[in-house]
Subunit: 221 residues, 2 copies
Amino acid sequence: LTILDDNDHLDNEDDKYHTESRSGEMGYSQQHKAETRAKLLRLASVTLRKDGPDKLGVIELMRTAGLTHGGFYAHFKSREALLVEALKMLFDEAQQRYHNISTGASPREALAKFIDQYLAPAHRDALSPCPIVTLNSDLLRQPQSFRAAYRVGVKKLVETIAGWTEAAGITDDQAVAASILADMAGAIALSRSVADKRLSNNVLNATRRRIKARLGLRDAS
Amino acid sequence: LTILDDNDHLDNEDDKYHTESRSGEMGYSQQHKAETRAKLLRLASVTLRKDGPDKLGVIELMRTAGLTHGGFYAHFKSREALLVEALKMLFDEAQQRYHNISTGASPREALAKFIDQYLAPAHRDALSPCPIVTLNSDLLRQPQSFRAAYRVGVKKLVETIAGWTEAAGITDDQAVAASILADMAGAIALSRSVADKRLSNNVLNATRRRIKARLGLRDAS
DNA sequence: TGTACATCAGTGAACGCGCGTTCACTGATGTAC
DNA sequence: TGTACATCAGTGAACGCGCGTTCACTGATGTAC
């Protein structure tokens, strides 16, 4: 009878699955559609981050997802709509990383961790997860819809950082938070365009120490 | 006879023009070819700066120059070669602007002028003449030839700034010069992605004051 | 000076290719009875 | 439970378009005699 209980349990879960996913629609389930859309967005955001907005193609995306290109328009109004959604996803992911950094940490710890991670050589050498680093030059070349989403994303990130500095009793000035982000993003960008590794590392180190000193944070190295 | 003198003068200029321009070649003059090439590069560098590397097209470029697309290959080996040349031109122009800033000015004056101009709201609101601002996100997406030229260009700019700080008796550390450039380029990029004009201006002002304080320069505002 | 010839920047058709979008369709999966 | 029907995500041919590059050519401008 324990087995039966188990079976019941599984049946219940299946029922739950079906009622939640099939909604009142026919044909493919809404969950299935949502999963496909999520998959497309996930793939699109990777391409957007890696190759930029101009290289994000509908046909290539669908092929990567194992689908044919015509089906794209069941999920997105246009390529531009996809671009905006993918960009929002990149900013949401950044916001999530900020959230993870600050969870269980004091504001000062969060700031220090954030700065250390951002200005680590590993960040320079990898595909940056930060949309500001990967996409700042694209801002003025893209349509208004893209710019608007970008600006909303930056605003939220700045507010999160300003929240930390305020909670740490340093300052509630958003311009300080914004210029820290600007300074760090610029440092990553420039460290990438310096061939000399020693000089490149020095740029990151100098920036890290300077920002931390400015905020009254201790620097380990 | 004054008229004759004038005519002689014109004739002489024509002769000069012909001997200088026709060189030893036949058909079109070398000067004519060089002028066309220069025109193409000038137009290409504007497009590169404005619309980015991916939007710089051979056919569109030739049409803008009033030529047909086939003739392109008399001047450049490939689109990629054009891209690299156009990029070099942008960096050369930047280097020229740096030179103009420092002519007839003390190192400290040059630094102050440079910082003030770079972080002016006018820079944020215009198409940036600085290749770092306009192209930093493109670096990792473009071919090696592009990256190499970009890195050479940045290196020269950093050396020029380091030359100023050294001559001013501040520091001979290139990492300081590089991180100033990074800070400023980042500030312009971020000020553009902040919708709130007041906050955007504050980012620029905060960055300017901070950099000047760091270098021991007086700030007018 | 005048004429024959050589050069080569520029022309424009053609190449193979990829793009975003549309649209008539198919077929797996749901509901209704 | 079994069967008829409806839905709609996904298919794939087709659309007009633009891309970078090649190539046989043209014709303006030079040199040679």
